[in-house]
């Protein structure tokens, strides 16, 4: 059950060009609304904007007896630009934790597939897997790579891909997923987050190798809680589901990739 809370910004760090990591004090929000890695926050970005911005939880937990949440976001437009100007000590008006995260079970072997700003939400999955996850991470170029160290520490293996080959191998995340599955397809599931074309590619690869795949989708949102039906995504069976309430994580086979 989601709640609204004024969360204090306790740490702010630039992690890439135009990309910021915020640590927020979470109070009772975590204990009351946490379901699993991959949930998101709906953050008010100033009084002059009507709609909140959905941002995924990157990591959460307890430090020095206080619950915290971290988010990583890229400045895309006005709302995220406003957010990037907040300073330590400011409070953010947050709805959270929203949606259902990835369906993960203790002891599972997970292959994480992340592209660009889709990488941070998978960090929670890496932590959950307690060092046993494999990650394929893709970025446009070396200068835009984020969270490499945390993933290196939290995963068994990390394979890097860039569009231009400036870091790791040249190629796309789906190529990396295929390369991993070629050697070993004994994964409980692939967990993927990133731009839609990447997700489609990963879903295809998962289908080819017969490995279950969960994808975290994006859609424009108003309410964030399932009331306005704004964030609809078409499903393969012809029905509509909603990213905020039914997702943001869906089984790749449910999704209508041609919509």
């Amino acid at each position: 059950m989601p709640i609204q809370r004024d969360c204090t910004l306790v740490a702010k760090r630039q992690v890439g060009p135009n990309t910021w990591q915020f640590t927020l004090e979470a109070g009772e929000m975590l204990a009351r609304t946490r379901k699993g890695p991959g949930q998101f926050l709906h953050i008010a970005c100033g009084h002059s904007r009507l709609l909140r911005r959905p941002i995924s939880v990157c990591a959460c937990g307890e430090a020095e007896g206080a619950a915290f949440l971290s988010i990583v976001f890229e400045v895309r437009g006005e709302g995220t630009a406003w957010l990037a100007h907040r300073e330590v000590g400011d409070t953010l008006d947050v709805l959270g934790l929203l949606g259902n995260g990835f369906a993960v079970t203790p002891g599972g072997r997970y292959l994480l597939a992340g592209g660009g700003i889709g990488v941070p939400p998978l960090y929670g999955c890496a932590q959950f897997a307690q060092g046993k996850a494999t990650a394929v991470l893709g970025f446009r170029e070396a200068g835009r790579a984020i969270l490499l160290e945390p993933f290196a520490k939290a995963c068994e293996d990390v394979f890097l891909y860039t569009d231009d080959g400036s870091l790791g191998k040249q190629g796309y995340v789906a190529d990396g997923v295929r390369a991993v599955l070629d050697k070993d397809k004994n994964f409980t599931a692939i967990l993927a987050c990133g731009p839609k074309p990447m997700l489609r590619g990963v879903a295809e690869a998962a289908g080819e190798y017969g490995v279950p795949c969960q994808v975290s989708l994006e859609e424009r949102m108003a309410c964030g809680v399932g009331a306005c039906l704004g964030c609809a995504v078409p499903m393969a069976d012809g029905s509509m589901k909603h990213v905020c309430k039914d997702g943001p994580v869906f089984d790749a086979q449910e999704v209508d990739w041609n919509a």
């Binding site: 609204q4 009507l50 008006d93 709805l95 859609e219 964030c231 078409p234």
Partner: protein, 308 residues
């Protein structure tokens, strides 16, 4: 000072206070019921219903605008029968008025839905003749007086004792003409305004943000238009009005009441702050208290227009 009487009567239905979340912004109440007690509300309008289930429009369905938003949800809903079976019992158990919002493809469909909803015991039926997001019916009924009258008569003929409120579109040259046609055809109340047609474009891709190209504008940006229209209709037609469009605060609600509304709808503002309706109720009470108003209904139509 005695307590402020916040209750109002809208077409014979008593609301404990004038604040009502509006159709399409509040689902069937369940989601926001997680944030506050729905019994704090005067009533609630449920998501627009159709005779048969509808999937709605393809995404993107939402675009932000300066202090507002566009939507092209397109009346996605489970259909009137599923609403009555699955959602209504939970809502009826609450001490708040339940207003069912309906859209039809033909006047006969409006009649059929009214019959079902009236038998199921909703407190009021809001007839949407004004949704800009569906191709058949919808906006056409709301822009042509004779069609609006026909739909109103059909709804009244099948609604039994359940009051019928006709929801007007702002996308017309003269809203008073349409309001009068609904009144003459027997409407018990009017609600206004529905969304204004609008558009946004991504300059990079040259594509409209909405997959349907255009959608309906709502939120604080439309408040002045809504106030003007409520004022015009209240001045010309002797029916109670549920005034809506851009209301976000108690102060906005006071303006809406002064313009001529009996009760006040809130929609898009809830997306920014889920507690907005509750804050508006509290704020109204405080405002009345500090202004020596004993009953909120005294405010309705209380604007003092300049003589010109």
């Amino acid at each position: 000072m005695p307590e402020v009487d916040l209750s109002v009567t809208l077409a014979g239905v008593r609301l404990k206070n004038p604040i009502v979340p509006v159709s399409g912004t509040f689902g069937f109440g369940e989601e926001y019921g997680q944030f506050f007690d729905l019994e704090a509300l005067g009533g609630l309008c449920v998501k627009g219903l159709t005779l048969h289930p509808r999937n709605g429009n393809p995404p993107p369905r939402i675009a932000e605008t300066p202090m507002g938003m566009l939507n092209s949800v397109g009346l996605q809903n489970p259909g009137v029968d599923a609403f009555i079976a699955r959602e209504l019992p939970r809502l009826q158990a609450l001490d708040t008025a339940v207003i069912a919002n309906i859209s039809g493809n033909t006047p006969a469909e409006y009649g059929q839905m009214c019959e079902k909803l009236s038998q199921a015991g909703v407190d009021m039926i809001e007839v949407n003749v004004s949704c800009p997001n569906v191709k058949a019916g919808g906006l056409a009924y709301g822009t042509r007086p004779e069609l609006c009258a026909e739909v109103t008569r059909e709804a009244k003929a099948h609604a039994g004792r359940t009051p019928v409120m006709v929801k007007l579109s702002p996308n017309v040259t003269d809203i008073v003409t349409i309001a009068k046609s609904a009144a003459d055809a027997g409407a018990d109340a009017l609600s206004l305004i529905n969304t204004l047609r609008g558009m946004r474009i991504d300059p990079e891709t040259r594509r409209p943000i909405l997959r349907m190209n255009t959608g309906g504008l709502s939120g604080p940006a439309v408040l002045p238009v809504a106030l003007r229209m409520v004022w015009e209709v209240h001045s010309a037609v002797d029916l109670p009005i549920l005034g809506m469009g851009g209301v976000a605060t108690a102060r906005d609600a006071v303006e809406m009441l002064l313009a001529g509304a009996t009760a006040v709808g809130m929609g898009s503002a809830i997306f920014a702050d889920p507690m907005a309706p509750v804050k508006a109720v509290e704020g109204l009470e405080n405002w009345c208290e500090s202004h020596g108003i004993a009953a909120v209904r005294e405010l309705t139509g209380g604007v003092k227009p300049w003589e010109n």
